[in-house]
């Protein structure tokens, strides 16, 4: 088996992984970095982010305001010290990307422009038209080429972590192009593998978003935190789930029901104003908007289509010139995929799963409870999103915490003893043998593609926008059955080179573990908060019993054990979470109180 020795191993080369690699390379050019990615870095799913990245820059804005928006948006399930740190570091990361060449959109005078986003009080979303993820990812990838200490393993798929002596010390990776395994030893390991949205049926995520890193850490005893909070994005293409960015609404787009009525005013998000108003109507947070769609659909005021019920995203009043300037990708998607021109017709949309708020539990330094293991980006739960992430906080998270992970992992690697190569190779061979056994097993003729569809279906049924104990229990049961069936999978393709049949079966194994963590965490949270909404007697938020992070602990051959951990509250006491007119009134009250205390 091939062997590679690194100081820092990074698994995942999207926004967080690349940012971490550059941080290590800049801090210590002599440190050897192994950057593993199952796709070429510029294919990573960061590429699909559209709207932008949050960082306070306007003189009328403040770090406090970004903090408050984020904590309120997360329904007070955020780690407030981490949010404070995050908002304080974000703008510097955006500027750093600008220096590296990111084509952030500009004002006529050449200064950075920012746009409005859902749940944000003041415009603070940096954007590169509606290809913000694409441009930041390509900027980071291209910049990373500058650093000879970054050794890339492009198109290498991680099949296991190497944990020895209570420390993460490397990984076993598979090259699809040869079918051969490589053991990578490292003094510190960073996971930056992205989310797990593909466990649901209709989702905005790329095919690669299969929760690999989450499952890898989880299987080695690292808890997955707050997994019940899966974000439904309100405006997605019916059927495929492809995303129409929140920036469509940030730029002034409206949501209309089948009668052409801006129905969000019926769900505590009004008043209706001619110009977009922050934290009001279409600029409310994603959880509230997706819930309003569900309610509207129950009332029979949505439009039935073969791909499910839809409402309309209407941007006709913005005019073709503005649409082409600010939302060119959206225009292309509507035209190429749906044969319609958003300047002439409203776009049919519906909610789809978009983002995994929870993830590998990690602290403010991105350190997980397993020594030597760090996690950054969507795969992690450093605690900034709470029960509902605000749009444009996730790109910013990649850069802020990717940078931190690089610094911290490098620091750790300096004090870590060298990897014992013979022990690494023994374990890597065992890990590889397991994966090869799955490929070559006779099995019971079960197709993993069928299991994947059933998993995605049951997740949607039990863990959708609104949840009940009965449905969630049915999903937990179904997942247990699918895991049993997975043992009897027969992989048609037993060849070595580019056996994607085999790799997607391994990915399904990851997905089933992550899906179980989601469903069991959801079942036990007997309250409604953010993206977790129940309609079976637990409709209210319950701060007495559930102002707590869930922790899903892996148990081999059994359902996960769910435990709870405290939420760090620093200066924002849990209060009423409101938007629109009520939200504004509450904010005024809060400001008066602060002024009185000052």
């Amino acid at each position: 088996m091939d062997y590679y020795d690194a100081d820092v191993l990074i698994v995942g080369a999207g926004g967080a992984g690349l940012r971490a690699a550059i941080a290590v390379a800049e801090a210590d050019p002599s440190a050897k970095i192994a950057l593993v990615s199952k796709v070429y870095p510029m294919r990573s799913h960061t590429v699909a982010a559209e709207g932008g990245s949050a960082g306070v820059i306007q003189t009328t804005d403040s770090l406090d305001a970004h903090f408050n928006d984020t904590v309120h948006g997360g329904d007070w399930l955020c780690e407030q010290d981490v949010v404070e740190f995050f908002v304080s570091r974000s703008t510097a990361e955006m500027i750093q990307l600008e220096h590296w060449g990111c084509p952030w959109s500009r004002k006529p005078d050449g200064n950075i422009n920012v746009r409005a986003f859902g749940g944000m009080k003041i415009e603070r979303t940096w954007f590169a038209a509606d290809r913000s993820g694409f441009h930041t990812l390509h900027t980071l990838f291209q910049t990373s080429i500058k650093y000879p200490s970054i050794k890339r393993f492009d198109e290498y798929f991680c099949v296991d972590l190497y944990v020895d002596d209570g420390r993460a010390q490397g990984a076993t990776v598979l090259s699809p192009s040869t079918g051969e395994f490589t053991a990578i030893g490292a003094r510190a390991v960073i996971l930056a593998t992205g989310g797990a949205g593909r466990v649901f049926r209709q989702n905005t995520n790329g095919g690669i978003v299969t929760g690999d890193g989450m499952a890898l850490a989880y299987r080695h005893g690292v808890p997955l935190r707050d997994m019940e909070f899966m974000q439904y994005h309100p405006t997605c293409m019916p059927g495929s789930g492809i995303l129409f960015t929140e920036a469509c609404r940030g730029e002034g787009g409206h949501l209309l029901n089948k009668d052409g009525y801006r129905y969000l005013q019926d769900y505590g998000l009004g008043p209706v104003t001619p110009e977009p108003r922050n934290k009001t109507m279409e600029l409310g947070p994603r959880d509230r908007l997706s819930q309003a769609f569900w309610q509207e659909s129950k009332k029979g005021r949505t439009v039935e289509t073969p791909q499910g019920d839809v409402v309309y995203l209407d941007m006709r009043h913005l005019g073709r010139a503005k649409l082409k300037e600010r939302l060119p990708l959206i225009c292309d998607l509507a035209e190429e995929f749906m044969d319609l021109d958003p300047a002439d017709s409203p776009i049919p949309v519906r909610p789809a799963v978009h983002y995994t708020m929870g993830g590998i539990v990690a602290d403010i330094r991105t350190a997980t409870p397993l020594a030597g293991l760090y996690a950054a980006g969507e795969c992690s739960s450093v605690g900034i999103h709470g029960a509902n992430r605000l749009g444009s906080n996730s790109l910013a998270e990649l850069f802020v915490f990717g940078h931190v992970a690089g610094d911290e992992a490098l620091k750790f690697s300096k004090g870590a003893p060298a990897v014992k190569t013979d022990r690494l190779l023994d374990q890597a061979k065992a890990s590889a043998a397991k994966v090869v056994a799955l490929r070559d097993q006779k099995g019971g003729g079960i197709r993993h593609a069928d299991l994947r569809k059933e998993m995605a279906m049951t997740m949607e049924e039990g863990c959708g926008i609104y949840r009940t104990a009965a449905d969630m229990q049915a999903t937990c049961d179904k997942l247990a059955e699918l895991k049993r069936q997975f043992r009897d999978v027969t992989i048609e393709d037993r060849s070595a080179v580019w056996n994607t049949d085999w790799i997607s079966a391994v990915e399904l194994g990851y997905q089933l573990d992550v899906a179980e963590a989601v469903a069991h965490s959801a079942l036990l949270r007997k309250e409604s908060r953010g993206a977790h909404q129940r309609i079976d007697g637990y409709e209210a938020r319950d701060d007495v019993n559930f102002l707590a992070h869930s922790l899903a602990n892996y148990r081999e051959g059994a359902a996960p054990e769910i435990t709870y951990g405290p939420v760090k509250i620093t200066r924002s006491k849990p209060g009423e979470r409101a938007y629109g007119a009520l939200g504004e009134a509450l904010e005024v009250k809060e400001e008066k109180k602060d002024a009185a205390h000052a």
Binding site: Y40, Q96, H99, P108, Q142, G207, L243, V497
Partner: protein, 250 residues
């Protein structure tokens, strides 16, 4: 249901397959999948893989024409499978082949590494004209200055332009349209001062002068990057530079 109606609801995909362990050379295999109005070529491939033949290999991820993974020859033309819809193709079988001009690794999967090396070779990052600290804030860049390079920064690295390029087909060392567009993206950026460093890539023996100005690269580009224009701009720069080199000597 009458036979004609049944036939209308399926589509035939004729796919060039190659499995290195068992096949001496690539050959075509046909599959029939249910047709729907919304179906992309990628979804048809996924349908084959999920229900008919799990061993069919192809790359894909985002499904929305931005990750650049799923380029292939569709009825002889380089296109993205995810944004090519069956409804827009002529009736009859759809022929799918791996991207032209690249070595086939298996089925529709081609070798990408050499293309990535070309990207790496052109110094694809800002080499600051005037270095700046984070505390000094962002550079000023007017919309007009952005316009000088912005379209070249939209390249998704899908390699369709390489499959369209007859010159690259003949000489795999030719730097090619995509890398030249990226080079122009940085050369044209007001923040960058690395133009001289990139000259060798422009007028070396595999640089712009290898291009015979066919222009098919720009025609197949799914993002209107216009790599042919990038090559042309660099021909002008290269010629000017060549001229300047004499002036300097004199």
């Amino acid at each position: 249901m009458p036979d004609a109606a049944l036939a209308a609801k399926t589509v035939e995909l004729r796919i060039l397959r190659y499995r290195p362990a068992s096949d001496e050379r690539p050959s075509y295999e046909s599959f029939h999948v249910p047709y729907s109005q919304e179906m992309s070529v990628l979804e048809a491939l996924q349908s084959i893989k999920d229900t008919l033949d799990g061993s069919l290999s192809f790359r894909w991820s985002c499904r929305m024409a931005v990750c650049g993974s799923c380029g292939m020859m569709i009825n002889g033309k380089p296109q993205l499978a995810c944004s090519t819809f069956l409804r827009n193709l002529p009736p009859g079988p759809v022929t799918l082949e791996p991207l032209n001009n690249f070595p086939i690794e298996r089925d529709l999967v081609v070798t990408v590494g050499d293309f990535v090396k070309k990207i790496e070779s052109i110094y694809p990052y800002i080499i600051p004209k005037v270095p700046r600290t984070i505390e000094e804030g962002a550079y000023l860049q007017t919309p007009a200055q952005m316009a000088a390079y912005e379209s070249f920064s939209d390249c998704i690295n899908c390699m369709l332009c390489y499959a369209a390029c007859p010159q690259f087909g003949e000489n795999p060392d030719f730097i090619g349209p995509g890398a030249m567009a990226l080079l122009q993206r940085y050369n044209g950026d007001s923040r960058d001062g690395g133009q001289r460093l990139r000259l060798d890539q422009i007028h070396g023996e595999n640089g712009v002068w290898s291009c015979t100005a066919v222009g098919y690269c720009s025609e197949v580009c799914p993002k209107q990057v216009d790599p042919a224009n990038a090559v042309n701009q660099n021909k002008t720069n290269s010629a000017f530079d060549f001229f300047l080199s004499f002036v300097r000597k004199a």
